[in-house]
Amino acid sequence: MGMEGIGARVARKEDKRFLTGKGRYTDDMVVPGMKFAAFVRSPHAHAKINGIDIEAARAMPGVIDVLEGRQLQADGIGNLICGWMIHSKDGTPMKMGAWRPLAIDIVRYVGDAVAIVVADSAGEARDAAEAVVVDYEELPAVTSAVAALQPGAPQIHPEAPGNLIFDWQIGDPAATDAAIAQAAHVTEIEILNNRLSPNPMEPRATLGIYDAAEDHFTCYTTSQNPHVARLVMSAFYNVAPENKLRVIAPDVGGGFGSKIYIYPEEIVCLWASKKTGVPVKWTSDRTEAFLTDAHGRDHVSKVKMAFDKDHRIIGLKVDTIANLGAYMSLFSSAVPTYLYATLLSGQYDIPAIHANVRTVYTTTVPVDAYRGAGRPEATYLLERTMEVAARELGLSPAELRRKNFIRSFPHQTPVIMNYDAGDYDASLNAALAAADWDGFAARRAEAESRGMKRGIGMSCYIEACGIAPSQAVGSLGAGVGLWESAEVRVNAVGTIEVLTGSHSHGQGHETTFAQLIADRLGVPIASVNIVHGDTDKVQMGMGTYGSRSGAVGMSAIVKALDKVEMKAKKIAAHLMEADESDIVIENGDVKVAGTDKSLPWFQVALAAYTAHNLPSGMEPGLKETAFYDPSNFTFPAGCYIAEVEIDPETGKTEIVQFVAADDFGNIINPLIVEGQVHGGLAQGIGQALLEEVRYDEQNGQLLTASYMDYAMPRADDLPSFTLSHQNTPCPGNPLGIKGCGEAGAIGSPPALINAITDAIGINHLHMPATPLKVWSALQDGQMRQAAE
């Protein structure tokens, strides 16, 4: 592998910049004449706008202009859209209500934008925003998806009667019902997947710059996929044609999905820049982030899992209601459908599956993909059900899982996915050994002697990364293809720029992508620069989410590298008068195999650019582009084990150990992979123990709008993690890699809840398992015991 090649634990190149405060984020961008925006936002969850009076605000000090939705509409700026078409099982298309960048007649969640103020300073813009008088007529709110489906619930969009967006299904209902009818045992459970707020460290920000001389727009924004932002803003929102719109996503401080989508603020700031003639910057504060960043999860599901007499799963039936909030965000429809229900087979050979999913409007902020996006919901549902089933059947959790593991590949599930490779026993065994599962009984007894309740739980997750084969997702309703592009530019002195359509916002691409080049060409990673995040530099790309940058983004780089290598070899063969097929590239030298003939890499590069002596007919230069479209998803899988101790007096859970055994295929940089797993586990543990977005059910106010009430995991909430890696290389891509960005968040919640319910001896407990909930469950248990 070399010191810096594939598999090396190289410290991140980008960390110097980040750790010394030298990162350049959107809010750091300063351009001449720049002014500041504040948004007037709805204080109500649902209200009719009878009028907007901007006169007082306009007269405030420093105010340049106050603009509202009607003007935006008159200028032809379009509504926000959801880019993945889902059809209901009756064949009708999903019922998308209008999401105006600035609301005109109705507001539908607390935080819905109504007007923009542009002023000399951010403070003056805020002062003036408070002076905008909006005449609201309050309408009833509804915050839970189940309540929104009830007859008589407040109607949120005229386009979606009864607030139902679509009623979709996957799998075989008849075969599944038949399996349940003939089952020896059926486990039934209700699963809630709590609603989460993404909380990236950097809040969203945007800077819109209109250049009247060129009739050209530049948008700096906190985006995970600047090219998609440009495409959507150009094709659907009519901001400007693509050649007149440059989108730059500089350093971005975390996204977790929430920065995939185009939000109203980008569009409105670009438009406002043209209207006012000044560059317009907006930076979200933390309260705005809680109110307006797309949330994640929020599912309610009913599950039936059928077993035969040998404890083999013969059918799985799932009925899910998913809350999509007030408007359909960019990928919101795909998350509870193709990113969720297609993973319901888990690691198990299940002959019949049927899932029905209803998505629902509520008067809450839109819900879209958040780290894991659908797969955490599927994994939580399945692994909680498996645990309860094992308890009901009197089997150990490992035994029940082993009885049902898929062991031959490729494996076609009944829900679209075709698993290409995996070894689920390997991860399970590694985790059991690392956790000393067999020694648990003694540890529990010791804990009991101290008055503590100890429990252990596991989760065997599978997920799908490397999204995705374009043709396949197109046939399922995606509005875009999900390939990736790369350009490898060798400079005349042999240093290299890699232009990629992937976008790094914490993933470490500047290091891992350079390691790939180092591995192939033997050049130091210091001589490789990764260029991303600017639509003027990188021709096209689909961005970073769904753990796709390795499996898809790096595969595109491999393809471009293949072409660069081929050309370099031709040049070297010509210069050294050897046969092209004898040329090898090793440790930064281009050699004729089996001889002492050799040229340093830079000389080959130089020869390509001097073009004094190239093979006849060859174009000068050394630069190649490639697009890579994956042939399948990749399927990372693994086994997580959590061991907890609960203080019965307070209900507080302490995680005494957490073991993660993951199969990510080949690994480029173990240090970065471990970091990704640690971060994912922190988020999964946050979901399981701490985090929950709560709205007031009566008036739709967000109750958890700050860190005073929204509990983020802190270092002392987390144990020291025990990690290991198993490896079945992915057969579908050239590097054999699967993706590691989301596994931690996907696999950990059920392991924890299984451990906690084991400790307190009950089957049902909903996330987050706060001290209050666990203590209350213990009291209920005691009362039940006393009654019996």
């Binding site: 403070g123 805020r126 002062d127 408070e130 309260t287 007096e649 307070t650 209900g651 507080k652 123990l689 701490l690 709560r694 109750l703 958890t704 860190y707 005073m708 009430d709 929204y710 509990a711 983020m712 706060t770 001290p771 209050l772 203590w775 209350s776 009291q779």
Partner: protein, 265 residues
């Protein structure tokens, strides 16, 4: 934040005068509550009168068993005071449990008790230690000082200059943290002194910090960690919110009292 004028006072008199000449002014101590509230535009004082540069408001003196802590003394100084630790370690432990290191180095005892957040830690100590709150104009027994949620006996413009108390024979504090804010969902301070046992509870009472007389009686009869267990605490007097129901808080009052007694030794 709305525009405001900043004044740096160098004496108590100057601060009080500045404050009395600005109706909409506020004292600024550590700013850990006030600045955050201003940034959220929930408070809009016309003038801020900074107390942190007044030497007379800072510092700790321990004279025999009498402890005096200046109003503008940050929590970190209390937490690390060897002199206080020698006579009343419980209050050092309490100060060390407030917020995070940033908060402990900025936030002050005067600001904390003047603010009287129902989930703040110091009010429990003040009440259980029968402390005296010393202001620019009078001395107020803790018993009379904390009057409700975010409410105190302080008059308009009255400035907390110090607190003082007699170190008890034994004292202990136990706090159950709110998972999000890490303020007290319930914090119990127990003190055993010549005058008897005093137990004060923060974070739980629907009217702010209060004395738990049932636990006091139980501990007076038998100073043992098991004594609070049977004490009755009426959930009707306690707060209920998304983090903790009143019943849960009632349980926590007993459990934290037990742990405070263990901590007191």
């Amino acid at each position: 934040m709305y525009a405001t004028s900043y004044h740096r006072a160098s004496s108590v008199d100057e601060a009080v005068n500045l404050r009395s000449s600005h109706d909409e002014g506020r004292y600024l101590s550590g700013g850990m509550t006030l600045i955050a509230t201003m940034k959220q535009r929930l408070a809009a004082p016309s003038d801020l009168i900074d107390l942190r540069h007044i030497a007379a408001l800072k510092g700790i003196t321990v004279d025999g068993h009498t402890v005096r802590i200046g109003g503008a003394t940050p929590h970190a100084d209390v937490a690390s005071s060897a002199a206080v630790r020698a006579v009343c370690p419980a209050i050092c432990e309490l100060a060390a449990m407030i917020g995070d290191p940033h908060v402990r180095h900025m936030g002050t005892i005067g600001g904390s008790i003047a603010n009287n957040d129902p989930a703040a830690d110091y009010p429990a100590a003040m009440l259980a230690l029968a402390a005296t709150i010393i202001t620019d104009r009078r001395e107020i027994p803790a018993e009379e000082f904390f009057t409700g949620l975010f409410e105190t006996a302080l008059e308009e413009g009255e400035l907390v200059t110090a607190v003082s108390f007699e170190a008890p024979e034994k004292a202990g504090y136990a706090k159950f943290r709110n998972p999000a804010s890490r303020y007290a969902i319930t914090g119990v301070f127990v003190a055993k002194a010549a005058g008897g046992v005093r137990v004060a509870v923060t974070g739980a009472g629907s009217n702010g910090v209060f004395r738990a007389e049932t636990i006091e009686a139980a501990l007076a009869a038998d100073w043992s960690p098991e004594s609070p267990k049977a004490a009755s605490i009426d959930p009707a007097d306690l707060m209920s919110d998304m983090h903790a129901s009143a019943e849960y808080r009632a349980n926590l009052v007993r459990v934290m009292a037990k742990r405070a007694v263990i901590a007191a030794g």
